[in-house]
Amino acid sequence: MRIEAAIAARTSFRLGEIEVRFDGPVAVVSGPPGGDTAPVEVSLEVLREFVRADDHGRYRPLPGARTLPHGWEVRCASAGELRTAIDEVYPLALQHISQHERGDLRVVALDDVLQRQSGRYALAAGLSGKGREAACRALCSRCVRTPSWQEGTLPEEAIPCPEACSVLIALCREAALWESSPPAPSPANPTLPFAQFEAPGNEVREAYLAAHFAAPPPGPVQHRPARRR
């Protein structure tokens, strides 16, 4: 139990973009370093709201996105407060790490998640295999969690992702629409809302379009006609 052992032994550790160190009786959770200035002290009571916006004030609907604000720390007086602080930054991460280490993490395949959608998200299940791979590359590469539902062994320091999140489902829905009517690429604009995938310039959208619709390398198989870019 890597993280729980570190908490019990009061040894420093890193989790995603945060670091935890122990200062006497206090556990200090720090966000990404903010340069030369001393970190701002944030109270546990406001931490959840504080980490919901990035350095530019942009809403972070995906808590695992590597866009935590820089230059802050929270001082926790007990192991319970420390777990609460971690849960405010990365909801359920501690549970999923423990479940993974015990071997009882319930993992749900991406196709199962997409197939069970209804309403406006029912379209997501229509996304091709290639499109699903591109969606995962475009979004999950921006997240500190590692998909357990993809093939491969998780690195020891990983925060497992047991099931596709609602943001990925929303991206798959938009991407399914794009497969029948590919939009023109636009320059990525990192100030646009993170999950506003229908907006030209959204950075995840543009990463997806670049990955999925780029001219394929020379070879005998072409999944779709190459687009002019």
Binding site: L92, R106, C165, S166
Partner: protein, 245 residues
Amino acid sequence: MARALVLAGHGSHLDPASSRPVHEHALRLRARGTFDEVRCAFWKEEPPLSRILEACDADDVTIVPVFISNGYFTRTVLPREMGLTGPISHMSGKLVRYTEPVGSHPALAEVIVERALEAGAGPATGVAVLGHGTPRNPESERNVFFQAGLVAKMGHFAAVAAVFLEQEPNMRDVFQRLDTREIVMVPLFVAEGWHVGVSIPMDMAIGAGELRRDDRTLRFAAPVGTHPLLAGVINDLASAAAAWR
């Protein structure tokens, strides 16, 4: 037996205000100490609905949908995502109770009255209870008409009507629906989100919370979902479910 309360909300990919009242009500309910743990879960935010039951330490879990209408989300999405089989489910050694949404509880009418009074409503005022509504699901209007009926029976105001954002009777016709000189519109919404904060004031051309038409005025109240009294409504729903066997 340890007991947990889960507040199930919608959440948003675009608007952080959407889930804020749910978290605030959870704080209030933790302070009451009725439940050993109080957690939030969301359809479009984290923690997700689909993983929250496994995260609860308690083996007796009550889920209260922080939704106004008993429709698509409470009947289809939440049960599917949380693996529920009915008002009572047994899952992995847990007893899970699933209540009606907050919008179905009669005590919500008192919150509507509070919001109307805060916006300056008096005995001569007409109160419009504004629901979302949708022509795609006839169930979605039921709680709005129910709550408007309860507010009317309480007799605080000259008249009470239900109006809707996306179906008839539409909010744009509120001056025809109510004939009082002064109208207060109370949004039967959970959050100060996109609809309450942006789209409705824009569609209604409400500037600075007030719209004037000839000698008549329409004032826009805060949504019911952000009122601290809603925590009591959630607690009432959860307490009633504790007796289910």
